[in-house]
């Protein structure tokens, strides 16, 4: 018999499910419902309390408990998952395309003999076949892939599914089990969780943000970006490559591993629009993108765009805004 179950491997931090978990549940429902399959939300944790009464959009919630599962530990997770997934023998396992899911995919793939499709923005069941759409090359390309009839593992791109639909108005049956395998002598230990420092500007609270991307080219050019932000009464934030260069502190990073912002205006300067960044700013009220590459994926998210050179545009824009404000 062909397995007819989708398992969502939940992500959680500090006793709370991460958004990606709810997005994956929405994805799982979308695949499972038309095919009459079941959805299991699998939560690995030390204390089941915060999770056992959640109205998740799954047919059941399976909570597996053991002390080392309190915080994410790839060695503990893979040990439990390899055991459980062999037992459950689902058709599809969903992981987040996140620093958690990416740690698990390789071990699960080789341990279970299952292919992995990463960067998934859409998964469909066509008859009994599964077809995947993935983003790659910084969001510039979409790949349609299909896999065989056995178990497949998919990494779901954050922000691809509606997280609100991951919760419903009833609590599904909940089963709590102790870990089926010993988690002694793990090669990885979780020591502590460090919260971000907020002594700098809190970019999640600023109504106007000017986002600097790689197209800004140098630290020197940031001055013009800061001038513009000041003229607008906003703050400068940045993409990962700019922060990696240490042109701006980590607290200014927008995107998957940085902050999620929803300002009234987001001005994206020299930002290509890689999915990791877009995820953190696509909820902004008004998005204006400046990038010389007309194929830059940022133009799919922006409301207004221009391909003029950002370094040429900056002085004109700052001057006109100053003039407009002075009036």
């Amino acid at each position: 018999m062909i397995p007819r179950e989708v398992v969502v491997v939940a992500e959680h931090v500090a006793g709370e499910l991460s958004d990606i978990t709810l997005e994956m549940l929405t994805c799982a429902r979308e695949v499972a419902f038309p095919l009459g399959w079941h959805v299991t939300c699998l939560i690995l944790v030390d204390d089941p309390k915060p999770f056992q009464a959640l109205p998740l959009a799954s047919d059941r919630t399976l909570i597996v408990t053991d002390a080392p599962l309190g915080s994410f530990n790839p060695a503990a997770y893979t040990r439990v998952l390899l055991h459980l997934l062999k037992d459950l023998s689902p058709r599809l396992v969903l992981l987040g395309n996140t620093s958690v899911g990416m740690d698990l995919a390789g071990t699960l793939s080789l341990g279970l003999g299952a292919p992995v499709v990463s960067g998934c923005t859409r998964i469909r069941g066509e008859g009994e076949r599964l077809s995947f759409t993935s983003k790659l090359c910084g969001g510039k390309l979409l790949a349609r892939t299909d896999v065989g009839d056995g178990l497949a593992i998919a990494l779901v791109m954050p922000g691809s599914y509606n997280r609100e639909l991951g919760m419903v108005d009833r609590v599904p049956p909940v089963e709590i089990r102790a870990s089926p395998v010993s988690l002694e002598a793990l090669p990885v230990r979780f020591l502590e969780l460090v919260e971000p420092k907020t002594e700098d500007v809190d970019i999640t609270k600023v109504p106007i943000l000017v986002g600097a991307g790689r197209g800004i080219q140098s630290r020197e050019n940031l001055k013009a970006v800061e001038d513009l932000a000041e003229a607008l009464g906003g703050a400068v934030c940045a993409t990962r490559p700019v922060v990696d260069q240490r042109w701006l502190p980590r607290t200014r990073q927008v995107g998957r591993s940085g902050m999620t912002v929803k300002p009234r205006l987001y001005l994206a300067l020299g930002v290509s629009g890689a999915p990791e960044h877009v995820e953190g700013m696509k909820g902004s009220d008004l998005i204006v993108a400046v990038n010389t590459d007309p194929d830059a994926p940022i133009f799919e998210t922006a409301h207004y765009g221009t391909t003029v050179d950002v370094l040429e545009l900056l002085p004109f824009l700052t001057e006109r805004i100053r003039a407009s404000r002075g009036r």
Binding site: V13, P74, T98, S99, M102, D103, A105, G106, S109, L110, P115, V116, V117, S118, G119, S134, L136, C137, K140, L141, L142, A143, R144, T145, V147, P187, V188, R189, F190, L191, L193, V194, E195, L232, P241, D244, Q245, R256, S257, M259, T260, R264, L265, S272, V288, A289, D295, F299, E300, H303, Y304, G305, T306, V308, D309, L313, F316, R320, I321, S324
Partner: protein, 255 residues
Amino acid sequence: MKIAVILRQVPDVVQELVIAADGRSLAKDELTYITNEGDEHALEEALILKSRHAATVTAVSVGGDEARDALATAVAKGADEALLVSIPLERRGDNHGLAAYLAPAITSGGYDLVLTGVWAADQLDAGLAGLLAVQLSFPYVGGLTAVAVEPAGNRATVHKEFPGGRLGVMEVSLPAVLGIQSAEQPLRYASVSKISQAKRTMQVKEFRGSLPNVEGVHVSRLTKPEASAKADMLQGDASRVAETLVRILRERGLV
């Protein structure tokens, strides 16, 4: 301590990407290759570790001729050894095959740490680092922004990124494979003269194994995202665009 860094050549996504006539791959003639950005960060982190400990860094470059250039750059930056792993272009995107191919080359080196980028721009299956760790029976943690090795050299303390700017501090037994998200410091640059000098003087070892027959993910269609949701593009030169933009912002009460 012995550290290996795996450097992959991937399409430069800043350049225009042309889909080949088969509709399932990129047109090879139109591609520019660069070293995967995450792998560059892995090299930087390895060189940072080398500056703190008595370590040797082996740059392992995967690909064809362009992979040789990546080796010269790595040596110019401070890598001690250069290992070229020749692999045909069309197999490079499949990390399952690549991990199986690389495993014997890495095993024979007896490394304490294997570092590579947590992600590659053209990847469609699981990450190389995690797959390689399974092949080597080493532990794996990825998404890292810092690595510190204990003086005894049998454990590393790493910083792993979580959403919302949080960091997890973890301890990993060595030998291990680590997936680097970004190095602790900005990438160092190697001057053109240093790179050309490395090209002339470096000793490149070559590894050629038999390609494993691993069934990967089958791409049925490659497309560019649809332009339906495209931004309203503002026309004209910089001055004109600035004028239009300020009008839009003013209409919305933003200036």
